[in-house]
Assembly symmetry: D2
Homo-oligomer: 357 residues x 4
Amino acid sequence: MSHNSFGHLFRVTTWGESHGPGLGCVIDGTPPGLALDEADIQYWLDRRRPGRSKYTTQRREPDAARILSGTFEGFTTGTPISLMIENLDQRSKDYGDIKDKYRPGHADYTYMAKYGRRDYRGGGRASARETAMRVAAGAVARKILGDDIAVRGALVQMGDDTIDRANWSWDETENNDFWCPDADAAVRWADKLDQLRKDGDSIGAVIEVTATGVPPGWGAPVYGKLDADLAAAMMSINAVKGVEIGAGFGAAALTGSENADEIRMGTDGRPQFLSNHAGGVLGGISSGQEIVVRFAVKPTSSILAPKQTVTAEGEETEISTKGRHDPCVGIRAVPVGEAMMACILADQFLRHRAQCG
Amino acid sequence: MSHNSFGHLFRVTTWGESHGPGLGCVIDGTPPGLALDEADIQYWLDRRRPGRSKYTTQRREPDAARILSGTFEGFTTGTPISLMIENLDQRSKDYGDIKDKYRPGHADYTYMAKYGRRDYRGGGRASARETAMRVAAGAVARKILGDDIAVRGALVQMGDDTIDRANWSWDETENNDFWCPDADAAVRWADKLDQLRKDGDSIGAVIEVTATGVPPGWGAPVYGKLDADLAAAMMSINAVKGVEIGAGFGAAALTGSENADEIRMGTDGRPQFLSNHAGGVLGGISSGQEIVVRFAVKPTSSILAPKQTVTAEGEETEISTKGRHDPCVGIRAVPVGEAMMACILADQFLRHRAQCG
Amino acid sequence: MSHNSFGHLFRVTTWGESHGPGLGCVIDGTPPGLALDEADIQYWLDRRRPGRSKYTTQRREPDAARILSGTFEGFTTGTPISLMIENLDQRSKDYGDIKDKYRPGHADYTYMAKYGRRDYRGGGRASARETAMRVAAGAVARKILGDDIAVRGALVQMGDDTIDRANWSWDETENNDFWCPDADAAVRWADKLDQLRKDGDSIGAVIEVTATGVPPGWGAPVYGKLDADLAAAMMSINAVKGVEIGAGFGAAALTGSENADEIRMGTDGRPQFLSNHAGGVLGGISSGQEIVVRFAVKPTSSILAPKQTVTAEGEETEISTKGRHDPCVGIRAVPVGEAMMACILADQFLRHRAQCG
Amino acid sequence: MSHNSFGHLFRVTTWGESHGPGLGCVIDGTPPGLALDEADIQYWLDRRRPGRSKYTTQRREPDAARILSGTFEGFTTGTPISLMIENLDQRSKDYGDIKDKYRPGHADYTYMAKYGRRDYRGGGRASARETAMRVAAGAVARKILGDDIAVRGALVQMGDDTIDRANWSWDETENNDFWCPDADAAVRWADKLDQLRKDGDSIGAVIEVTATGVPPGWGAPVYGKLDADLAAAMMSINAVKGVEIGAGFGAAALTGSENADEIRMGTDGRPQFLSNHAGGVLGGISSGQEIVVRFAVKPTSSILAPKQTVTAEGEETEISTKGRHDPCVGIRAVPVGEAMMACILADQFLRHRAQCG
């Protein structure tokens, strides 16, 4: 057991605080013989990197990952892969306010309640900077999954504004600053975020992550379910408050007749489903259909508007957070959600291979 | 690692198939010295038992749990607690249809794809009968949590019909057949279910489970988060397609200003939150507020209306499921959700005590 | 984590006390499609069964194992296999002495110190009856390993009397009551045990367990080492005080020149070692040679000669254990050691297959 | 599960190869509020450091550990502690021989058999340099155990030359280059090692590690046994071939009468044992007596004398290892064994506190 690890056979352990010397992870269980160098990892890290657009935090971090072990002559060796990113742009001179006051929506109070002390600089261990290591691990996971499995994510809702699925284009997700698959929505969201930044406020979002090419049979019954793993993985991302698979919460409103994914024989000789309310998972095991997960991200808690709070000493006061925060953390959660999907799939692939050969 | 276990220090492993000799679980890590006898467990099992009302499956199972180890003279000893329920009302003479045909929405096809064989009788290992052992384990978990922590569940939505929260009464949940806290909604739901049963159809639902009395500090950062554990726990229940904490998916539509749970000093000298969008968890650690989890259950897949499917041999056909199925599996998921909440809390309590004393 | 489980992918969890309703285990991770019925398990259980000869405890237990889940139509399904043995010959009327007095060499005092209470009947959870479930699990493990891997054990030392390795015959182990591979030693040991039983005393022993046919490459570096797993597995057997691999403690007395296992090419195109000081494991990974493990079992602590002790209330007294005890528990430890070797190998096989395909 | 981790609640994951950029570990589960800085760790690392005397490898490594996370203002915060040592003195220009030839007694062949490739430089992941991180983790574990628990190690046998226990002095272990508690033996061993180095040969050894001050009750039944954990921990150290507790293999030669550790009441109101054949562990749980573990280390496999071997391509050849190797790796295994004892005790302490409060 480790509070800072996830996965079983593809196992990722992360460490590091927002304003400490750096962040890192140890990835154990990677099969040997996979081509892997730092550029393979950096490609994905760059997609999550702060300061990538004006809509994300302006903290300037190159987030350059170094491979410290586990590869030799450009290939994985089967031994643990250690990755590290140095923290460079910390600006940690002045923490007056967040040192003593508990920020609403942050883990300041709960960390103190648990541990009796905390590294308050930039949120310490609770900072979303930790998610960089998830993305790095996801890059390794993608190597395991190979090219036939595509894991992609998109922002499908910002605030109460949802995309029009008729407009869905994966290509479009690369054209705007929001990983938005609907070009029209992206235009609206740009306006919305400009206004929110002006107001010093923030907004929530919903992310959808899908995986195509996953063969039927990955996952396990009862507690090792693929969807249970995905739920934990997504919920463990900072600021996530909900996770759903396939029809998700919408399934509650359906009848059994409406919800049934009827089956015909596919041209490939495999059963094929006529709809995908299940989101590609039945009984915790992949069905061969597209795996579809959505998760909700709450609005960034660090906002300019003053809010009531208390100090560590128990005095009532208020706090207003100035700083370099993302007005919509959901945007940078897209590559993180993709990475978590890739890691969980890699783990379930190895687990399946172990038991079923 | 085990596909059929959950929890770390309060660790539950279940076994058994729907139509095998019985079902059971082994619970490891229970503290010694807790008063525990079979009646303590039976009380909770009876709430989940099939045939409790006309709205649940008419399979007649007493679901009487036997304690096979781990207690002595009425107290837990600290050694593993083995529980077992015998399967009595199996009616397994005739499985013609489900033996050969993959039922839409069921795990029939995915189990075959994974294992190459399956116990098709009543769903085998994928049957919701397994959840009886979760309820049994939950009874032990409640002993660990003690009387100051109350874990309760309610059905808050059936189909597209949501309760009126202004009517919320925990007492009312004991008065109707749906664990519904809104007496008016319960009346409407009775009608709806009568009609659905007549039609041979089924309906989805949303369950809310809460825990009060949990002190601040339980949980862990990053991957050992209390909410990540709860997400996996709820998603692992049969037919669950979504999980949310606090404001959940609704948080996506909020601004940071709206979502902020402001803080004042409580009369007990502890910080007190003026709202609970967080659902009692911040940064993966309990805040001392009520913990609020909701999960969505899809409509029962076993319905009378014929649906297209294929056989194990790859022939296209259709299937109509006659039998003793719950028209709304969400109803019996209420005590199961409560049990999972209790188990996760017991585990996180022990984990917290281990690290922080 | 579980205190009562071992293995990772082939994972065994046991439960039960000496004088409770029964003993059992849950085996998770078994590949599907292996032929397995109760007779497969009973064959191995019978070899460990009490009362098999006059040199082991006369407790009369058929030790008939029932398969409660995880198989269907004679084959494993990939779901957890639950096994159970009922306790029948408990004679638990009178525990006066061991209820109140701590038996030297037993876990009576340490269980009380840990848990504050204990099931004192027959040693409760600390009883060697638990090892029946290891043997049962070993039977399943052997199915995974297949016929090309042979796991065998022998008693190689009783008291200070060691076998003559020149006389080694595996066939002979089936001809005497001690699993002794040296017919001459078996004669001497019979005399020795007769005398010890007359004296109400007991004696220690050394067991050797070997595995042939294990391919090179099983195991893992650093902490997942095959030999580290074997060491824990053997040390976890009741009364074991030492474990060694290959040359073992004898390696301490050798020079590097003497200890070197030189390598030539085998006729099968694989490297072949000219000696086996390593015991078949290098760097934690199997080398393709015979795997050789030895473990030391202390003399049965339950003896007739009165020994000084104290009561649970702290009064000094003495105790003399009458009862049905094995004068040399090492004898029945032979099938247990074999089973543990088989289980560890099965687990490492699955782990290897997971990572390396 | 992780092949490169050990411990459950005090969990250590190590990474790194002998000639890569560095070595490191992540320690999860450390209680918050412990004073910890780099000097605390360096003190113990210096005791294992290469080149400390003329009897150990002359590789020049300062082995300076850096704390990268998990502490704040000199105290542990409860978040993962990341430690790193840079590799500085690698001399990796020329690996001609060990690149292609399998060194007898090394993991060269088995790593290739498992992974199909390996970092051959200095043994890669199989190098004993990894043990530096065990010592670093042990330094943190000692902080958890506190000053009342003393973990100490000594070399008690070199080759076939065993110390005279009548001469035992813990102070003396600090006076010679061998951690030898017998001043006379230390003189003999110096001569022996001088000769072996001249001959280009090496020698095995036995190490004894003890812990005093451990309260009764740590450990767990059946598979979570304290002694089973210690066996795995010691066996996982490079070159270890045997582990024993208390009387160990010697117990095999004893009768029950001889082996009994009789009990009287101690002046502290606790049961006290009149002897310690058990080595401080009964039924897997500490008895409050001194915990005594011994392990055997084989002679260094890297020796000057040419030995027969084969190349990776399957050609027969011979190899003679020149280089900077320890003539007796057992010497530097003493602080490593101490560290492993400390880590296991810290883990079992937290596990005990979790379950029993």
